[in-house]
């Protein structure tokens, strides 16, 4: 099996290199057969990598511990699901998954464009296969998942118990779908630069790919946050940890990109900027893969020792230099068709949005990279704590919410006072009222108050837009409210899907604000029958139980939870002691979104810290995380919104009947 997998990798590398060459030659010699051959090579790479990945999965399922990678990431008693998930538990397998996903994307792109974009396709195929070649080279010579052990191990080490969690099993593939997805718009951008076809073609044809990549990056980040929350047991979901930052940065620049391409489509502006953004995003997603997979974070010294590091660094430099050089060469063809006329215009709102996203990405980048550089250059280890990140990201994030409210409503070119009054009077009043209500309810936290005011403002702008549009539909087509709303959304899915995503993001901001500004924690050491309290909750330590299965011993405690005197839930935080690892793991229990009935106000998060075998006391830690459930709920809304935005335009209504919807204020797309 392993031989088959390894042979497939080798053949895939050969095919990929051939594909790059033949695409390039085909383009140079205007030889369409050669171009086709390159595209067929992309299909072959996908098939070969599929086989290769399958054979590695088979090796995991068959407990083939003669392979180093299998022995390191699995063992015989591991559940089958985690044997499969162990595929991306380590370095070599993750790289294989990365390039496999890339090859599938390349195959889809090639198939979709058999007859379209013929002058772009050699560049697209060439770029995608060149990136594949790099990863295949690494898999072949540097980090081989099929590397045999000199002597087969009797038993594997097993997957890290922290990773044996359903969210962790799907979090990396989701992130990878996103990281790798960025390659497609990047490849089209490179192809457009190579071919000198610098109209909007590369943007419009990759719109869904961009959203796809953006979507999976975002979902991957959220899943990672949720995993950290339920699995790591420190009461939070985000720690400005380098690996988290690595996935956030491409998401930020990609978000900037999906916004600013609208300005290029509408006004022919920001052409160079959009190319820069997609180049940046691609570089950051390679950087993210590199940071997670090279060991550079734990120490620079492990980076230079790690076989992967220098290769990745070299590849990264080549990508940056080549794409920027290409961009500079094409600058004369990238003249803007319009300029910004006024600070109070939609164009400038989009520009501000972009500046803010880039500023946030830069902040995260600096905080992530500085410790690495400092250790490498000065030999001094330093740490940058969450306080520094929060100090910068919070004000930038708040400005971003404000622009989220302004951007979709403000007039193009130059907003008149009348336009501003008409669109913003209501939302501003609503936002301020919300602020007053929060203040009356006792919120004195300045940043939290600002955040709630701005969130309310954004929600009001969206509600106002939906109401005005629906009313116009109801009048023009004599529809009821719900039909009017549905037909409004279906007539401009991109725009209203986008609004829905904004609603989801506002919910996420509300959750982040509540849980970071108002978190409470209590640590206590008590005996059975005693109780403690946090916020509105009283927790009675009722009982303990111990059990064991094939892998671990479990100690669990029963906490009877009541809120304002009424029993609401029974929580069972646990401690696992895995036999093949001498490190215990904490299993938290939460009264929150997934309790019944769901609790959306404030999560009660409980941890069994440890027990004192002699005195009979147990240490518990509890967190109160207000509004945190809205982060996960917001995630669901973002999912729905993105789906609406990418739905195909299936109904073509005669132009004459489309008019009323077009007259609705502020058409985004």
């Amino acid at each position: 099996m392993a031989d088959l997998g390894y042979t497939c990798l080798l053949m895939a590398l050969l095919c990929a290199v051939w594909g790059v060459l033949s695409s390039w030659l085909g383009h140079q010699m205007r030889h369409s057969e050669l171009v086709r051959s390159g595209e067929n090579a992309a299909l072959a790479v996908a098939a070969l990598l599929g086989l290769s990945s399958l054979s590695l999965i088979a090796a995991f399922l068959a407990d083939d511990f003669s392979l180093l990678y299998v022995a390191q990431n699995s063992n015989a008693t591991q559940p089958a699901v985690y044997k499969v998930a162990a595929l991306w538990g380590g370095q070599a397998g993750s790289l294989l998954l990365w390039v496999f996903i890339l090859s599938v994307y390349a195959a889809i792109v090639v198939t979709q464009n058999r007859r379209r974009h013929r002058d772009l396709m050699p560049g697209v195929t060439g770029t995608l296969l060149a990136v594949s070649s790099f990863f295949l080279f690494m898999l072949q010579f540097v980090s081989n998942p099929f590397e045999p052990l000199p002597r087969a191990a009797a038993e594997g080490t097993g997957l890290n118990p922290l990773l044996q969690n359903p969210f962790m099993a799907i979090h990396p593939p989701s992130l990878y779908l996103g990281y790798v997805g960025v390659s497609v718009p990047f490849a089209f951008a490179m192809a457009a630069l190579l071919a000198g076809r610098l109209d909007n073609e590369w943007i419009t044809t990759t719109r869904r790919w961009s959203l796809f990549a953006w979507f999976f990056l975002g979902i991957g980040i959220l899943l990672g946050g949720y995993w950290a929350y339920v699995e790591l047991g420190w009461g939070g979901y985000w720690a400005w940890d380098p690996v988290e930052n690595a996935s956030l940065m491409p998401w930020l620049t990609m978000t900037a990109f999906v916004h600013s391409v609208m300005i290029q489509e509408k006004k022919g502006m920001l052409k160079v900027w959009n190319l820069l953004l997609i180049i940046m995003t691609f570089c950051l997603s390679i950087f993210g893969t590199f940071i997670t997979r090279s060991g550079v974070i734990s120490s620079v010294h492990s980076f230079t020792k790690s076989s992967l590091g220098p290769w990745f660094a070299a590849f990264w430099v080549i990508v940056v230099l080549a794409s920027v050089l290409l961009l500079v060469v094409r600058l004369p063809k990238l003249r803007t068709e319009n300029t910004i006329e006024s600070l109070l215009s939609r164009e400038s709102a989009f520009l501000f949005n972009n500046i803010l996203f880039i500023a946030i990405a830069f902040t995260v980048f600096w905080g992530t990279v500085y410790p690495i550089l400092s250790e490498a250059i000065q030999g001094v280890k330093v740490s940058v704590g969450p306080p520094w990140f929060n100090q910068w990201i919070v004000p930038l994030g708040l400005s971003l919410i404000f622009v989220t409210g302004v951007g979709p409503l403000i007039a193009w070119r130059r907003a008149s006072g009348q336009n501003l009054m008409r669109n913003f009077r209501g939302p501003i009043v609503f936002g301020l009222l919300t602020g007053l209500v929060c203040f009356a309810l006792g919120v004195r936290h300045l940043r939290a108050l600002t955040s709630f005011v701005l969130c309310a403002f954004v929600l009001a702008t969206i509600a106002q837009e939906l109401w005005r549009g629906t009313r116009a539909r109801m009048k023009s087509a004599a529809l009821g409210f719900l039909e009017g709303l549905t037909s409004l959304i279906l007539r401009n899915k991109r725009r209203y899907g986008g609004y829905l995503v904004h609603v989801g993001m506002v919910m996420i901001f509300v959750g982040i604000t509540g849980s970071s500004a108002f978190q409470q924690e209590v640590t206590t050491h008590i005996k059975k029958g005693e109780s403690f309290s946090i916020g509105p909750y009283d927790l009675l330590f009722a009982d303990t139980a111990s059990s064991h299965d094939a892998h671990k011993d479990v100690l669990s405690a029963t906490l009877e939870v009541s809120r304002n005197g009424r029993h609401v839930d029974t929580l069972r935080p646990e401690k696992f002691y895995y036999r093949d690892s001498d490190q215990p793991t904490t299993e938290v229990d939460i009264h929150g979104l997934f309790s019944w009935p769901p609790n959306l106000g404030d999560d009660l998060y409980t941890i069994l810290v440890d027990n004192d075998p002699h005195g009979g006391g147990y240490t518990f830690k509890a967190y109160l995380n207000p509004l945190i459930a809205w982060i996960w709920l917001g995630g669901f809304v973002v999912i729905i919104g993105t789906h609406v935005a990418v739905l195909p335009e299936w109904s073509r209504v005669p132009l004459s009947r489309q008019r009323p919807a077009m007259e609705a204020p502020g058409v985004v797309s």
Binding site: Q72, N73, G89, G90, Q91, T157, N160, L162, A228, L232, W234, G236, A239, W240, D241, V243, E244, T292, R293, S294, G295, V296, I297, S298, S302, S306, T336, T339, I340, E341, I355, I358, A359, F362, T363, W366, G367, Y370, K381, V382, S383, V384, G385, P386, P387, W388, Q391, W392, T523, H525, S581, Q583, P584, T585, T586, D610, D612, G615, Y618, T619
Partner: protein, 144 residues
């Protein structure tokens, strides 16, 4: 049209570099440097300020506080060590002879009072896989 464009680009560059400069400036003030046990003991200046020490938890040095929360232990570089008291619950990965980073300050009795503790487990997983998983530092193993 051209002048407008130049003004725009200039404005953008000024705003971005302003933000950038502020970020970098504030950054230097919030950096915390990591020191080895030997560096810490050799530098009286360090002993008077908030700093981080990395090393290993000395064998047989861990004493759990009676009452259950908090530990006393010694952080060592193999030859010399510093006594540490940490008044909060320790993470799962904290154990004797494991790697540890403590942040805090020396008190009058010569005990390092830590307000932050990171522990990592060196033996079990290969370095690279560990980093791939998540660097042990701030998320999993950190006690907040």
């Amino acid at each position: 049209m051209r002048r407008q464009r130049q003004k725009l680009i200039l404005g953008g560059v000024i705003i971005l570099s302003g933000i950038g400069a502020l970020i970098v400036y504030s950054f230097n003030q919030s950096l915390v440097y990591d020191h080895s046990v030997a560096e810490f003991l050799a530098d009286p200046g360090l002993q008077r300020s908030n700093c981080r020490i990395y090393g290993k938890v000395a064998a047989a040095s861990v004493v759990r506080e009676t009452g259950g929360i908090g530990v006393r232990f010694a952080v060592t570089d193999g030859s010399r060590s510093v006594p540490v008291v940490y008044a909060r619950e320790v993470p799962d990965t904290f154990k004797e002879e494991g790697d540890v980073v403590v942040e805090g300050m020396l008190n009058a009795e010569g005990v390092f009072v830590a307000h932050h503790l990171l522990a990592k487990c060196p033996s079990k997983y290969e370095k690279e896989a560990e980093a791939a998983v998540r660097p042990y530092g701030s998320t999993g193993a950190s006690a907040r």
